[in-house]
Symmetry: C2
Subunit: 110 residues, 2 copies
DNA sequence: ACTATTTATCGTTTATCGACGATAATCAAT
DNA sequence: ATTGATTATCGTCGATAAACGATAAATAGT
């Protein structure tokens, strides 16, 4: 079955083409990659839902081992979507609004 | 340096926590993964800019081999972000509005 | 100093990505 | 049927992701 659902106009009508490049591409790709795993989407949603931060409860809320959750949190943190704040022996995570807004902005402006 | 930029409230205030799950998570993760590579972001942007579809010009616009570009296009297609329409020996790609809108919606509603 | 609790990191295994060249497949036109 | 042009797929390689258990690191409280 040859996919045919949307009318495709002939490939004329174009001039600039190689101008589209941007290093925003890398930024978006990195942010997108951070949420390119169901576990990380879930973690982000949990944090967003609680508005404030949570700690090892995240582990209990996930069907994954502690070390795996920790790893996913690290990835989210490195991408700038999440922040961790040390609170005694615990660590309190919350959404990094700046990075999170950046992600939404970059997707919105696509 | 202990990151401290956003005030984190104590982890109380919560009741529901494991309720947050959703299989939208998987959908978003898949869509995000599709644009989790600079080359695919770029391809998507090119297609968006031309409003209509392009073909092997995509290869010329990218600093990658034909096979690699084809592979990225396949990933975008499988994610439902792009469509390919056969036009003679060429293939004309265009944005799959339905999937693309879904992505934007899921990110917006985060 | 020791213990208990919590989180991060290490080391390992398995699976997948990203890139390429080479090859196959498809179609128009002769 | 063959050729030429275009695109997809295959096979391979190195690099990285994802998961886990085990261990280390940090801290509060005896």
């Amino acid at each position: 079955m040859k996919t045919r659902r949307q009318k495709c106009l002939p490939c004329s009508a174009g001039a600039g083409l190689e101008v589209v490049s941007s290093d925003h591409d890398d930024v978006l790709a990195k942010l997108a990659w951070a949420i390119a795993h169901p576990a990380r989407v879930r973690l982000l949603k949990i944090l967003l839902a609680k508005t404030s931060c949570v700690c090892g409860e995240l582990v209990d809320a996930m069907p994954l081992s502690q070390s795996t959750v920790s790893q996913h949190l690290k990835i989210l943190k490195e991408a700038g979507l999440v922040q961790g704040e040390i609170d005694g022996p615990k660590v309190c995570y919350c959404v990094n609004k700046q990075g999170f807004d950046r992600l939404k902005e970059l997707v919105r402006d696509l």
